[in-house]
Symmetry: C2
Subunit: 209 residues, 2 copies
DNA sequence: TCATTCGTTGACTCGTCAGTCAACGATAGC
DNA sequence: GCTATCGTTGACTGACGAGTCAACGAATGA
């Protein structure tokens, strides 16, 4: 009847339904440990329908990762366009990632645990895409060094690794409940990440206090 | 005849042989992707013998991890005993881990890729053991804060995460060849890790140059 | 020399699960 | 109302691989 209930729209909704169910199942049981039937059950659809919308179990995870990672790359690139200090750019990126986790922990858990931190099995396919993020961050650092904001005795690549590594480690800490994650904690993490990294990168590091 | 060729000694050697072969296979193919028969083939023994020395495929990885991680915990605790500056302690720990990788990349690759960074599947079992390392590092930071060497506006737990996270990210970069790893690179990484983290932790951060 | 022990062998079993497929049924167009 | 389309169903298959087990044989000790 209405356009919103047309054949193709309903199909798109079902696809989304399966995708969202898959995220919950992957987050709960892990990609390898779960069965495709678990995803179908979680979504409330028949087993076969999963294969109507996706060609394989892998493709579901691919889709989940690419959807979100593309968003991240887009945000990093956009932040770098802004005419602000390098430190502020890094703060915005850290904030975006932390907020992404707070807003939807399951998706971030799946991306980190099953792709980013699983470069051996699944991440291998996406290594290039993951690397793009490192490179964009390294570029921000390089610009900061060129403008004299950041010290030059740490390579941009290394700095990007330390920056992203710290963020990922913090999210991992939350995911596995090694670190408290009250709204207060998640908010202060944004500051601590940038403070810790930047006061080691600034030409003259001064404690913020 | 000689004690070195006694029954029990020969058995211990075979066990070691299988363990070393498993490390190579895990590093090459990944824990999930390899078959137990691959390990047997690599070790040059019959399939069944693997199950004579280990009760399951999991137990092999357990053994590999625990052997090396216990060593790491021991070193961290020992370093903390030394009457030196916190920064020097962190430098020694970073050096030990980097040297471990340089000396035997396969073992470190397996531990990081299959256990440390796989907290969802396998690492879950070892979460407590992994956490011990964070806690020991956090204690070093806390002492450094108490003695006035390190700034106090970053929590020890957070600092430990940033420190270890940076190291792990660098090793991961080497493992997946995102980062150059000539002897010169690995040596300079030791310095860069500590510089990056500490000049953000020191009361007054000054570039080392 | 014979018997016992135990390291060693590899073919086999058995459960699991990704992916297939034939059939069903609701909607849309005629 | 009739037919074609296509979303939907779930039982089934085929491959794969962890773990078992019965039998073998080389040291050891009597």
């Amino acid at each position: 009847m209405a356009a919103s209930t047309s054949r193709s729209q309903a199909a798109a909704d079902k696809r989304r339904l399966i995708l969202d169910a898959a995220v919950r199942v992957f987050a709960r049981q892990g990609f390898h440990a779960c069965r495709v039937s678990d995803i179908a059950d979680e979504a409330g659809v028949a087993y076969g329908l999963v294969y109507h919308y996706f060609s394989s179990k892998d493709e579901i995870l691919d889709t989940v990762f690419l959807e979100r990672w593309s968003m991240l790359l887009h945000v990093i690139a956009e932040v770098d366009e802004r005419p602000v200090a390098a430190r502020e750019k890094l703060r915005d990126i850290a904030s975006f990632i932390v907020d992404s986790y707070v807003h939807d922990p399951d998706v971030m858990k799946v991306i980190i645990v099953e792709v980013t931190r699983a470069a051996n099995s699944f991440g291998r396919t996406h290594l290039a895409k993951i690397r793009e993020a490192y490179d964009l961050i390294a570029r921000i650092v390089a610009k900061g060094q060129a403008s004299g904001e950041l010290r030059t005795d740490v390579s941009p690549d290394f700095a990007a690794l330390a920056f992203y590594g710290t963020i990922e480690q913090v999210l991992t800490g939350w995911i596995f409940e090694l670190l408290p994650q009250t709204p207060r904690d998640t908010e202060s993490a944004k500051v601590q990440i940038v403070d810790t990294i930047c006061d080691g990168l600034d030409v003259i590091g001064l404690p913020s206090a």
